[in-house]
């Protein structure tokens, strides 16, 4: 192909030898571009054909593997019901299938991981035992060591799904990966597998994480049953704002009331977003003794945080701040503040709320519409 390109360039040069230099350069660039386009199209076509072939082969492999699993392995309800000799015979059969070629091996690992992820009940231990006996871990390890970040992330999910403790040393290495998605996936695996220092990332991670990462990590913590939950107030002094926000949310999730004094001190933090999260947390913790402090902060806060304060006062709902909430509702010019104040009024217990609503007889039309939308 390169030879062709060179010869066509030479042809261009000889064809255009009598033309001005600019025309010759243009002819060269045009022919070079044309060859590049052709090469790119051939490349795309080749990859499409190759991908199509791979997809067909994987579908075939998946079909055969599912059939084998159904015919021999999933006849049993639990791994303990399978006699050792039978298990060995089944594993031998599956090994033959696995060794057919790389596509079959990878498909077998993928099928077992997929079934482990999407099925519950007694098949769990059959799947993990088969995965281990077939030595399919090497496919996960290959992914963990891949140069593509998305394959490393996929490999990390597989480690968790198969509860593969032997892969943990590689997971610990990936905690220092350059890609934040991979690091977050590694933290998630360590949390879900309840490893010893799984919360160290709250003080070690240097880069600010995205909101999506925080949701993933928060879910990983709260969805892990019987996890050894630390005192999250210890992580409020770090320098990574995103992880302080995550710690605040986890304080709320685990109702760690002992963190309230520290949260109150942080109401003076210079970061507006952090103060916002703390105001929301104090409301969710329904910390009755913080109302005065929140009311004291109201005038110096941004509109967003004013809304958050009113909303939190509503969640605390003690009735002590009701006059303040009504006052802010009546003087509100900002729609979000008015809405938060109305929601705070309606968050109060029935008798307190009714008393206030009855007293609000002569209010502006927009206030009345807002109250109606809540009732």
């Amino acid at each position: 192909m390169i030879l062709n390109a060179l010869s066509s360039d030479t042809l261009c040069a000889s064809l255009f030898s009598n033309y001005p230099e600019i025309i010759r350069v243009a002819a060269f660039v045009a022919s070079f571009t044309f060859i590049l386009i052709i090469l790119t199209l051939i490349g795309i076509f080749y990859h499409r054909v190759k991908h199509g072939k791979m997809v067909r082969l994987s579908t075939l492999a998946e079909g055969e593997i599912i059939e084998e699993l159904n015919d021999h392995l999933f006849l049993f309800d639990s791994v303990t019901d399978i006699p050792e000799a039978d298990m060995n015979a089944i594993v031998d059969k599956l090994t033959v299938l696995k060794n057919k070629n790389d596509v079959f091996g990878q498909s077998m690992a993928d099928v077992l991981i997929h079934l482990q992820t999407n099925l519950t009940g007694s098949f769990d231990n059959i799947i993990s035992s088969t995965f281990s006996r077939l030595k399919l871990r090497k496919f996960t390890l290959n992914r963990l060591r891949s140069s593509f970040w998305f394959l490393r992330t996929k490999g990390l999910n597989e480690v968790h799904e198969m509860q593969d403790g032997h892969a943990l040393p590689v997971v610990y290495e990936l905690v220092n990966d350059r890609n934040p998605d991979v690091r977050v996936a590694a933290y998630t695996v360590l949390i879900k597998m309840k490893t010893r220092y799984c919360f160290d990332f709250l003080s070690n991670e240097k880069e600010e994480l995205s909101e999506w990462h925080l949701i993933v990590l928060g879910d990983a913590v709260t969805a892990t049953e019987n996890a050894d939950i630390p005192d999250f107030k210890n992580y409020l002094t770090g320098t990574n704002k995103s992880l302080i926000i995550l710690s605040v949310r986890l304080i709320v999730a685990y109702l760690q009331f002992n963190a309230i004094p520290k949260l109150l001190l942080m109401l003076d933090n210079e970061d507006e977003q952090l103060r916002n999260q703390i105001i929301i947390a104090l409301g969710k913790l329904a910390a009755g003794n913080v109302e005065e402090r929140l009311i004291g902060k109201y005038d110096e806060e941004t509109d967003r945080n004013k809304s958050a304060i009113l909303f939190s006062l509503g969640q605390i709902g003690s009735g002590k701040s009701l006059n303040f909430i009504v006052e802010k509702f009546l003087e509100a010019g900002d729609f979000a503040i008015m809405k938060s104040a109305a929601s705070a009024i309606f968050a109060h217990p029935g008798d307190l709320k009714d008393q206030i609503l009855q007293s609000l007889t002569t209010v502006r039309e927009d206030h009345l519409a807002m109250l109606r939308s809540f009732s």
Partner: protein, 126 residues
């Protein structure tokens, strides 16, 4: 042989479920979207219909109503598959006449037991 219509997107788990149900003596028909399911219920009476609420083309809830209006399958018990754990949704779905629901990820043994129970009930009633 009891006929079951499963309305769900194509997946490895469904292929696995299909093979398992066939072994348990069910005849399984798959519809991978709501439109296909609507066509299938016009021609055939099923002993049970298993519907995922999140299917392409026709919303799961809409499909349930269509099945209940269909002369051939109006009495067919419907079971719902869902990965949404909202109480409100489940109460709502059960109130619409659905016989039972299964949360995803599910246990194949449980789903097979429920399908057996519902199809037997439906045969008794018939």
């Amino acid at each position: 042989m009891k006929k079951v219509l499963i309305v769900d997107v194509e997946s490895l788990v469904n292929r696995f479920l299909e093979a398992r149900l066939k072994r348990e003596g069910f005849s399984v028909v798959f519809a991978t979207d709501g439109q296909q399911a609507l066509i299938l219920i016009q021609d055939q009476k099923y002993d049970l219909i298993l519907v995922d609420l999140m299917i392409p083309n026709v919303a799961g809830r809409e499909l349930i109503m269509e099945i209940q209006r269909n002369p051939l399958n109006s009495q067919t018990p419907i079971m719902v598959l869902t990965s949404l754990s909202s109480d409100e949704l489940i109460v709502d779905v059960l109130a619409s006449g659905v016989k039972d629901y299964i949360m995803k990820p599910f246990s194949v043994n449980v789903i097979v037991a429920k399908l057996k129970q519902l199809t037997e009930l439906s045969m008794d009633i018939n």
